[in-house]
Symmetry: C2
Subunit: 227 residues, 2 copies
């Protein structure tokens, strides 16, 4: 994680992302900008949360580490969205989950410690956060519906497109299987199908997308229904 000190860049992100409309005060003074390289952690479970982040560019994923030590993928995030807002609202000092950058990510960041009281008393911010929760909730309901409603191949196609990076898919199978709610074995079956059908080609440590159209077509229903 690397701070970017260029005020022009910061201001540009602030205005184009709708960030400045989230508060009743002008946040520019207190706002920093951070860059996270792909695979960096934006927040790590159990670590103290020092910033309220606002993702303005990139893709990120949210993990939960279960009691038995297993890692399970919860959800994916694209701009604009808050990160750490649940902990802020609950006034809990550390993060419950881990958020990791999939691609390079840029986040506006507001220091929590000095601003928490102000934020929790700011009706505009609270209302915006409420709206954010409502939409997130709709989305979760839809997604949950999808998981029940669509076969694995379609969801996997959607998943590959979501997480692929420069046409390369390289998620850990164990985690993906858990995210999709299927067994490791079956995931490999379906991936093998995709390879057999020419959608993917297996390479050293990843899969390369060789038929983007086919995957997109497969994923279409899932995505439509989620939007």
């Amino acid at each position: 994680m690397q701070e970017i000190d260029n005020q022009d860049v910061i201001n540009n992100f602030i205005t184009t992302s709708g960030y400045d409309g989230q508060f009743s005060f002008d946040p520019q003074q207190d706002t920093k900008l951070f860059h996270f390289a792909a695979n960096d952690f934006i927040v790590k479970a159990g670590a103290p949360l020092t910033y309220l982040f606002y993702l303005v560019k990139g893709k990120a994923k949210l993990y939960d580490v279960l009691a038995n030590g297993k890692v399970s993928l919860i959800d994916f995030f694209t701009p604009p969205c808050f990160i750490g807002e649940m902990e802020l609202i609950e006034q809990r000092p550390e993060t419950a989950f881990s958020m990791q950058a999939i691609t390079d990510c840029w986040c506006l960041a507001l220091p929590i410690r000095s601003l928490q009281k102000k934020l929790l008393a700011d009706p505009i911010f609270l209302r915006q956060i409420c709206l954010y929760f409502v939409h997130k909730n709709y989305r979760t309901v839809k997604t949950a519906g999808n998981n029940a409603a669509f076969p694995v191949a379609q969801r996997l196609a959607s998943f590959i497109l979501l997480t692929a990076h420069d046409g390369l898919y390289s998620e850990k199978h164990v985690q993906v299987a858990e995210y999709l709610g299927i067994s490791y074995r079956h995931l490999l079956y379906v991936l093998a199908q995709f390879v057999k059908d020419g959608y993917l080609v297996k390479q050293q440590h990843h899969y390369k997308i060789t038929n983007l159209d086919a995957l997109t077509a497969l994923a279409q229903d899932v995505n439509e229904s989620t939007n």
Copy 2:
């Protein structure tokens, strides 16, 4: 839906449910109390929403009517919880979903039209609603995890216990199948298993629970993980 005008009863519900802590003002003046008989609609999709409800007693269920006309069960609610808060936050005039009473329900109710502005500017209320959303979100994530993680028999057991009324289970199979994300056919298989195993007995228009312990044991893992 029937208004209950007994101020003692109202006050009792207000104080025991934590309702009065949800606002920065004293809501007692504006609060009504309604009783809904089992199977009544508390809110109906598309109808104008005139009250923000706060369920203080009973069980209710939330439906979505899909584009193709099918009905799908989204979630279940037990006290204390808000009903209509998503629409209030979004300032959308009608309800998106339908909420129906499973057992007899009692709801405190605050007229929206006259109080919307006040509520949307009330930091305490907004913060409480935010907390409510956060918890609801945790719950949804857990539930979604469960649906992937547990076999149908266990989820069905949990579901039966949740919706049963006086030891009788009488949900529409079509809707339950959709809620559990399984086919109608398979639901009947599993129900038949339960009957064969002596957990349920089929009667005229419903099933009677004949082995509560067994069902509870089956549902235990699911419920534990959801709390």
